[in-house]
Structures are given as C-alpha cells and as structure tokens.
C-alpha cells in the first residue's frame, strides 16, 4: 500500500503509534511533508468526518483519529520550522462573556484541530476585546463564539461590532453557535456563519476561509 494511503487508514483506525511511525518513515523516504499532511493525515480525518456525519462511527472513534493525527503532525512540525506548520487556518474560539458553558465549545475546538486548523481556545467568560485582540495578534482568520444562555447571546454582537469598528470585519470572519443560537440570530447580529454541531462547525469554518481566500 502507498504509504500516504496507509497513514490515512491507520489514522482512521485511531492507531496513533503506527501513524507516528509511518509519518517518520515517509519523511525518511523524502515524501514532501506537505503531502504527508494533506493526503495522509488530513485526508484520513476528512474520511472520518464524513463517516461520523453518516453515523457509521461515533464521537470516540473521531477523537481517537484526531489523536492519531496529532501524533503525525508532531513528527512533521520540526520540518516546517521556517514557514511554520501549515494550518488550513487559525481559529480563535471561546465562550462568550458571562457564560460558563464550555462543553460544546471544547468539542468544536477538538474537531477543528482534528480537521487541521490551528485553534486558540480562550476558555469561557471571554470579553469581546479579548477575542478581537487575540485574533488580530495571532493573525487568525476566524473567531468562533459559543453561548448557551439567553442572557449572554446579546454579548456576541459586541464582538462583531468591535471588529467592524476596527475595520477588521472582512479580514476576520465570525462564526457563532450554542443551544440558543440560530442561523437567523447570526444574520441579525452580522456574524458570518452559524454552526449547530462540531461537524457542521468544521464545514462552516472551511467555507468561511475558502470564501475569504477567493475574495
């Protein structure tokens, strides 16, 4: 079997040790690191994502695959020292100010990482300024905000407004989610996207980044 294919298959099986080993072998065989990442690791994760969505596998299998993916990326990271680890994009996420619910946000973070994004998780009770400052400093493409309370939903708008004020609205995209949130609410406050679960969040973030690149 082609080594990239094998990396992908082992990753799907959640075999982190084997993925680590195979990634090393591929590097020794001078397979370009970018190809190992895109075709082997992320390729495997994409299949996992599809199968999860189709209920063929469950969340634990997805997380095992993600763990295997990190084992592979850890091997590759030193090879990208100069240009930095290529991530499909950087996402700053957090739970909105006043909100202590973070389970859903954490899950979204794990899945984004698994899909190859670099994720900066600011935790919970995050004020608008911190979202914006961090995204600016880190040159993030997307800010993801989670709210689970009716009473904290309005605070999400302040982050979008702050981006607008700073003239960053087109550079840094926003996505929101959480039980009280809807597509309609996202539109209403001017957020760029809404995600209803972790798979949907990954798809939406990918779409946002693609749209921004083609702008």
């Amino acid at each position: 079997m082609d080594i990239l294919k094998e990396i992908s298959v082992r990753l799907q099986q959640g075999d982190d040790e084997r993925v680590c080993e195979l990634t090393r072998q591929a590097v020794e065989k001078k397979v370009p690191p970018r190809a190992i990442l895109d075709e082997g690791l992320i390729g495997g994760m994409n299949i996992i994502g599809e199968r999860y969505k189709a209920h063929e596998i469950f969340l634990p299998q997805v997380l095992l695959a993600a763990k295997a993916m990190y084992a592979g990326t850890d091997v590759l990271r030193p090879l990208f020292v100069k240009e930095g680890m290529p991530a499909i994009g950087k996402v700053v996420i957090g739970s909105v100010q006043g909100d202590l619910h973070d389970i859903g946000k954490n899950l979204v973070g794990i899945m984004l990482k698994g899909a190859g994004f670099e994720v900066i998780d600011l935790g919970n009770d995050v004020p608008p300024e911190r979202f914006v400052e961090t995204a600016e400093k880190e040159d993030a493409a997307v800010i993801g905000i989670s709210a689970l309370l009716t009473t904290t939903m309005p605070v999400m708008k302040r982050t979008v407004d702050l981006l607008e004020e700073k003239g960053l609205r087109t550079k840094i995209r926003t996505i929101i989610g959480g039980a009280p949130i809807s597509e309609e609410f996202a539109k209403q406050i001017g957020a760029d996207a809404y995600g209803y679960d972790s798979t949907n969040a990954v798809e939406s973030v990918k779409r946002l980044i693609m749209a921004n690149e083609s702008d």
Binding site: P60, T150, T152, A179
Partner: protein, 448 residues
C-alpha cells in the same frame, strides 16, 4: 470558610480538599425534610419520606408556538400565560421559572421571571439566578412577601437551583448563590450534571460516584454557611449521545442514574429532586409522551420528592404550554399510581357481589358512589377515551389540538392570584427599581 472547618486549601490550584469529617459534620445538620409555602403563605409541599411533587422544567431557551408550530424566544405575555396556566394545573404543585422573557434587559431577565411568577400564580416557585448580583433582587422580592428574614425562613417560598460544574468544580456564581441562599434559609436544589462518557465515567456507577461527590460538596458549602439550611439532593445528569453530541434527558440510562442518586440522597438523609420527567422530542409526538411518562413513573416509584420536567422538550431547551397540559395528566396518573391499591370496604366481599347479582350492575351502588372519585383518576379531555365514532363526531382532534384547547380554556378560566394589591405593587416597585439600574425606564405592559 472551608479552611476554617479544616478543609485543605491549595490556593494556587484553586483546589479544596473536603475531608470525611467535614462531610459528616454537614450531614449531621442537613435537614431530613422541609416544607414549602405558597405566595399567600399556605403550606403546599412537605418534602419528606417518599412524598412526590411535580414541577415544570425550568429556564428553557425557547417556547414552542402553537400557531406556527415553530420555536421562538418567549416574551412577558408568554410568561404571564404560562403562570396563569400553571395556577390551573392540579397535579403540578409548584411553578418553575420556566423560560426567559426576552423583552426585558438581559441582566434582569432571570429575576423578572420570578417577579412575574409571584404576580400571576400562587404556587411556590422553583427558580435560579444566572449571576451573583441577581440573587439580591430575587431575595428582596421574597422578603417583600414574607416581611422579614425570619418570616421567609419560617415559610420558604422558592427553591434555587445551583449547579456545580462537572467534574468537581464550583463556579463563583453558583457557589456564591449557595452561600447566599443558606444565609437566608432559602432552599437550594443541587443540580449536578455529570455527562456519562464525556465529563464523567461512561459507567452509570462511575457517574453516580461523581454525582455524589459534586452534590456532597454543595451540601458542605450550604451547611457550613448555615447549619440546618434546607436543601434538596438533586441533579440533572445525562448520558452523552456520542452520535448527536447531545445530552438526552429521555434516555433510560439518564433516568436510571436519577433514580439511583435519589436512593443515595435518601440514604444520606436528605429529600431529593431530579430532572427526570421530560422529553427530547421537538414536538408533541409519541416520543414526547413516552419519555416523559417513563421518567414520571420511575421517579414516582422511586420517591423522588421534587420531580422536575413537565412541559419541557428538546434537551431542556424548549417549553410548551400544550405539553404542560398533557404532562399534567401524566402527573395525575402517576400520583394516582403511587397511592396504590388499598381495600375500601372490600371485605367481606360477599355483600358486594350479592348486590351486583341482584341489581345487575354496581353503577349506582353506595360503594361506587363513595369510592369512585378516589379509585379512578379521570383525566381531562387531552387524553382521548372516547370511542372512535364519538371521537370523530367531536372533530377527530389530534393530541396537539386537544392540548391547545385545554391551554386556551384553562388560561381563560384562571382566577387572579389572591395576593393583596399592596403586595403586588411592592413587588412591581422593586422590579422597576432593578430595571432602572440597567437603563429600562419601565417594564413591559402586561394584560391582566
């Protein structure tokens, strides 16, 4: 406070290690039972032994709108309708602050629910604060009705839900809420929510271990603040659905965990509460009936004292007035069930059968007339017991339609709360003052 009582405090890590001795101390003072009183001051609840009461599911994000069939964010008008409806639901003993009206400033929307409940319905209220500050106004509303701190302690009017964060964490908000409640002897229900397989062990036993530790730590905070402060050993645990990333309340395992921690709570000498009689369905379909009834039945048989959930759909996120009317019947049937089967002038049996043979029926027998209403629970018209022809003649209505007819009728027939006008005005003054703090010059107009 915990340190003073001998707990080991590791400040850098924000850790407190609570010893067995401290727990034993708390368990010595925690009340075995307590009573609840309505807005007027009459006793409604005696949380002791295996007494069972139902309370609507609390703090929904949305309301299921009958006319559109869609969910939407609720308003003051919805809340007033809800409170009036609950005042007419015989088998639901208390109100809960069931959803969050979105036509007031978000900083007051938690306390504003309590205000509306106290105005429109006499039943005691299961509620909760979303912030540390909100406690003050919620306490003041209660003090306005009871007069003094002692008056409130003697006749508790509300229960505040306080949630530890799994695993084994207490946020500033909820721990302060516990302390504040204890100081005013306002009953607290601890609502620990370990999610099996995610934020707790996948096994039901493992989840129970975690739930016990989280709940006991709450009992400790409460009892060290004010020994004897009333609490319910409660919870809202759930298994975690690894396909949909959700927290199913209608899952049988969720309900098993509830029944099991109820036994632990009772063993430790406390009255109990559980989020168990509710459904994850999105509308009034068969799933919504089966999950709520299974939960209600299990809970009542287990003797969970305060059974939360009626009206609630969609993972505790959506309240439906129509569902409340249906659930009121589930509660009625369940309460009938736990009264059990008892002999009532049944022995000797012979005279009864002699009468039957002689009269050809027992429809107007003295025995029947005496015991009919005690023996049978006759549900309202939301439950279909007509034969097919009659059902058809009466419009062939669906459950949802019948439930809606029930909502309209009950709200129309609601009698205003007997709370004196001067008390109502005092509540309004307090709430208006709170609203002004957040820049609202007036509260939404309410049709009474």
């Amino acid at each position: 406070m915990l340190q003073e009582h001998g707990a080991k405090v590791e400040r850098e890590k924000y850790h407190v290690i609570i010893t067995n001795e401290i727990i034993d101390e708390a368990l010595k003072t925690v009340p075995e039972s307590f009573k609840l009183f309505d807005v007027i001051g009459n006793q409604t609840h005696d949380f002791s032994e295996h007494n069972v009461y139902f309370t609507p599911g609390s703090a929904a994000l949305n309301i299921l709108d009958y006319n559109s069939g869609e969910i939407r964010k609720p308003t003051t008008a919805d809340y007033a309708r809800y409170a009036k409806l609950v005042s007419r639901l015989d088998h639901i003993a208390s109100q809960s602050t069931a959803f969050i009206p979105t036509d007031v400033h978000e900083k007051i929307s938690d306390s504003y629910r309590l205000y509306l409940s106290l105005l429109f319905c006499e039943k005691p209220v299961v509620t909760g604060a979303f912030t540390i500050e909100a406690f003050d106004i919620m306490r003041d509303l209660q003090l306005a009705l009871r007069g003094t701190k002692e008056g409130l302690a003697a006749k508790p009017l509300t229960i505040l839900s306080c949630c530890p964060t799994s695993p084994l964490k207490w946020s500033d908000v909820t721990s302060q809420n516990v302390v504040d409640c204890a100081e005013y002897s306002i009953p607290v229900e601890f609502v620990s929510m370990p999610l099996s397989g995610f934020m707790a062990p996948v096994t039901l036993v493992g989840t129970l271990v975690q739930h016990t530790a989280e709940t006991l730590s709450g009992v400790v905070i409460s009892q060290l603040t004010n020994p004897g402060a009333p609490v319910l050993y409660g919870g809202s645990p759930a298994i975690f659905d690894v396909r949909y990333e959700t927290t199913p309340m209608g899952a049988v395992e969720t309900q098993m965990i509830d029944c099991a921690y109820n036994e632990i709570g009772k063993h430790l000498g406390m009255p109990t509460q559980g989020y168990i009689s509710l459904s994850d369905a999105k509308q009034l379909d068969a799933q919504s009936g089966l999950e709520s009834s299974m939960g209600a039945t299990l809970a009542a048989l287990s003797g969970i004292n305060n059974i939360s959930g009626p009206g609630m759909l969609d993972f505790e996120s959506c309240q439906s007035l129509e569902k409340l009317v249906l659930d009121n019947e589930i509660c009625g049937m369940t309460l009938r069930m736990i009264k059990g089967i008892e002999p009532k002038e049944d022995f000797p049996s012979l005279p009864r059968f002699e009468e039957l043979l002689k009269e050809k029926h027992l429809l107007i027998s003295r025995h029947t007339m005496r015991y009919l209403s005690e023996e049978f629970y006759l549900p309202g018209s939301v439950i279909d017991r007509a034969n097919r022809a009659r059902w058809q003649e009466e419009g062939g209505k669906t459950l949802l339609e019948r439930a809606h007819t029930g909502v309209e009728k009950l709200v129309r027939e609601c009698v205003p709360s007997r709370l004196p006008d001067d008390k109502k005005n005092e509540l309004t003054k307090l709430m208006e003052r709170e609203a002004r703090r957040y820049g609202m010059s007036s509260l939404p107009h309410i049709d009474s």
